[in-house]
Symmetry: C2
Subunit: 428 residues, 2 copies
């Protein structure tokens, strides 16, 4: 049998008991005949504790040193996992990102993996060892400095290792049973998906599903590595992320209506800014968005109203991460004199609800059905955006749950029996 890459997040290795459980699971995969390579995150709150220490000595620590500090977290957890495996009578070798050949660019704090040269890992596998690799970290190609990959970094480490090692599968262990048709805390009847395509998973991740990070899914798609998202607390089959929406014949049959939609995602992390009374002249919108781009702000949805004929003024609305709200408002306020808009409105009480499914490409009625379901639930739609396989709407934050539940039911996603799940977020 081939190589299996497994990833365990911070909550899976939070304490010695959890580490021993993880070790037993790793050893089981080895007993099953696989060569096993494992990427681990730092234990539980370790990263936050290290950040607190940094804060205590310097309010603005240099990014290089912050990376040096934070990478100690995975070093600790990987060594402990290797020890726990050894205690079960199997041989394990831990490797830092640098030792494992995880080569990145030089952007400290959010480096991108640009190559993986897994020579030492392959040697260790050939010698019969189970290999444990520190997630979330690498070494920069040019400067040989230690880097970290930013949020979701260990998922990306795992997928990158799987690609470099030509692994059969990359198993991402988490505290939920897989990818669900909606957040089970909002929709108790949410069903676990057995499979989902890369494109759908990308849209789900981009629309607020926290289970996998965008970069990790993008990496898996590029190298065609199947991801198995599953619980570290059970033996259940989770969700397999693989294949393209173009390769799924079943979606072409009308009878498979239920499979058209992969799920309903939601996101409460965005805010909405409206620039009121912008003179409807060529270039004014460009000025606004240039200023926001220069402030390093990523916008999500953008809507410009038709200008009122009487005044020749228009309103421009857009959504952005709430964490960027203050910076964006400051940048825009600085433009008021130049552009001459009337006022700025800032609203954090919004939520985004998204319907995602490869099948909607061939089913024109999906949009109408989605809007009708939300209207029937008494929820007002704000902004709307769509992609080939996604429809997103902005609603009042208080209406998010109702909108998600209504859409879930309308597309026959509700399970007949409620599955037991534990939901939560893991850091990186």
């Amino acid at each position: 049998m081939g190589i299996v890459v497994q990833k365990y997040g911070g909550s899976s290795v939070a304490d010695p008991t959890a580490i021993k459980r993880v070790a037993r699971r790793i050893v089981q995969a080895k007993k099953d005949g696989h060569d096993v390579v494992v990427a681990v995150s730092a234990m539980g709150d370790t990263t936050d504790e290290l950040l607190d220490k940094a804060q205590a000595v310097s309010p603005l620590p240099p990014a290089r040193e912050l990376d040096m500090l934070l990478t100690a977290g995975e070093r600790i957890s990987m060594a402990l996992v290797a020890m726990a495996i050894s205690d079960l009578g199997f041989s394990a070798r831990s490797f830092t990102g640098s030792q494992a050949g995880v080569i990145t660019d030089s952007v400290h704090g959010k480096a991108k993996i640009i190559d993986v040269t897994p020579g030492r890992i392959q040697e260790a596998i050939a010698d019969g060892h189970i290999v444990i690799v520190a997630g979330f970290q690498g070494v920069s190609q040019d400067t040989k400095e230690i880097t970290t990959l930013g949020r979701g970094g260990t998922d990306t480490t795992a997928v990158a290792l799987a690609a470099a090692l030509k692994a059969d599968v990359c198993e991402i262990y988490t505290d939920v049973d897989g990818v669900f048709t909606a957040d089970p805390r909002i929709v108790p009847a949410a069903r676990k998906l057995d499979t989902v395509t890369y494109e759908e998973m990308l849209e789900l991740a981009a629309c607020g599903a926290k289970i996998l990070h965008l970069r990790c899914v993008e990496y898996a798609r590029r190298y065609d590595i199947p991801i198995h998202v599953r619980s570290s607390f059970s033996q259940l089959h989770g969700t397999i992320v693989r294949g393209s929406i173009d390769d799924i014949p079943v979606l072409k049959g009308k009878s498979m209506e239920a499979a058209i939609i992969a799920g309903v995602a939601h996101d409460r992390s965005e805010a909405k800014i409206t620039v009121v009374g912008v003179p409807d002249k060529v270039g004014e919108a460009a000025r606004i968005f240039t200023a926001l781009a220069e402030a390093q702000i990523n916008l999500d949805m953008i809507v410009q109203n038709v200008s009122a004929a009487a005044t020749n003024l228009t309103d421009i609305s857009f959504t952005l991460p709430r964490t960027d709200g203050q910076v964006a408002m400051t940048a825009l306020a600085g433009l008021q004199a130049t552009i001459g808009f009337q006022t700025l409105l800032y609203d954090e009480t919004v939520g985004k609800v998204s319907l995602i499914g490869a099948g909607m490409r061939s089913h024109p009625g999906v949009t109408a059905k989605f809007f009708a379901a939300i209207a029937d639930a008494g929820v007002n739609l704000g902004m709307i955006s769509t992609s080939e396989i996604r429809i997103s709407v902005i609603v009042d934050e208080a209406d998010v749950d109702a909108a998600v539940a209504a859409a879930h039911t309308a597309f026959d996603l509700d399970a007949t029996e409620v599955e037991a799940v534990v939901y939560g977020g893991s850091g990186r």
Copy 2:
């Protein structure tokens, strides 16, 4: 001005306040015009906490993984020190032992430094940075594995860096003001030595003075690196360790009697074993010491009594670290049938008192004066051993303080004013 290497132990970087104080001191050396390279230990109790974690997942963790785990400790402290320096407006770069070019053999847990290739450090110095290096760790030459140097490792790291960088001096910061003529907790009138030779410092370290580890002094002696032992809590001049006993003309003058003796050391970490009633035949002693050597036990002092003519039986006594007592007794008990000795005695209530000084080579009366002083204090002598510049005696553990104080006074080492000191031990 040239390069200064500084070493800060765990108690000097125990918390953010301590780290900031250390950063100010490092920056001061830079302001004074030196290029500064710093070796740091792990913060306070970090190493013990990591060992506890290891113990919680595996009672006998593999040495390779233990080294991987423990080296996280210095990684954390060095990054924090670099951040604190940056917060003072100076630029610092931290480097792991591996990055700093500390090349060792492959003995995990007590590796020896076999080379230092400080290319990255030299580049960083040339770029104007203050350099912070993780103490206690290196990378093995053959296997490229992360290693630790064992107790006193950070002192050794500092001296090895100083040698490789041809530094002017290696400053070892600690929680005492320097090397004293005796432990000030026992002899309040103990005086700080302004200078001491490598040989005397080696004997002091070997005889229980905890201020510097033997390996570090050996390294400094081999490469002729002056060590300045001083307090991280004051600006006082400490003790300079440098020069050979053969190079000190002052010791040749009789008038400098007081300088004949460097100090009185003591050690309460040894035990005494007596093998009673050994047949006085050729080869029996060899059998005993071969068995102990095979059990990896380092003996200190050894005495064989003259055999009693009537029985042709002799007694053999030796001292060894208390921590090895159990293993040694087991090894010896296994020989009883073969050798036919009568019984084994084990005594942990012994202490060793040593008088050290280069001047005793040319002053035959030293031994007599030392014994007389101890006798006058009402203390019985047990075993005796000597070197060219040292006399050691075993006494009852309860008599150690009295013997030390008596010898200290007899050789006119008592200060007229008691100096303020803080005494304590730092881990590595």
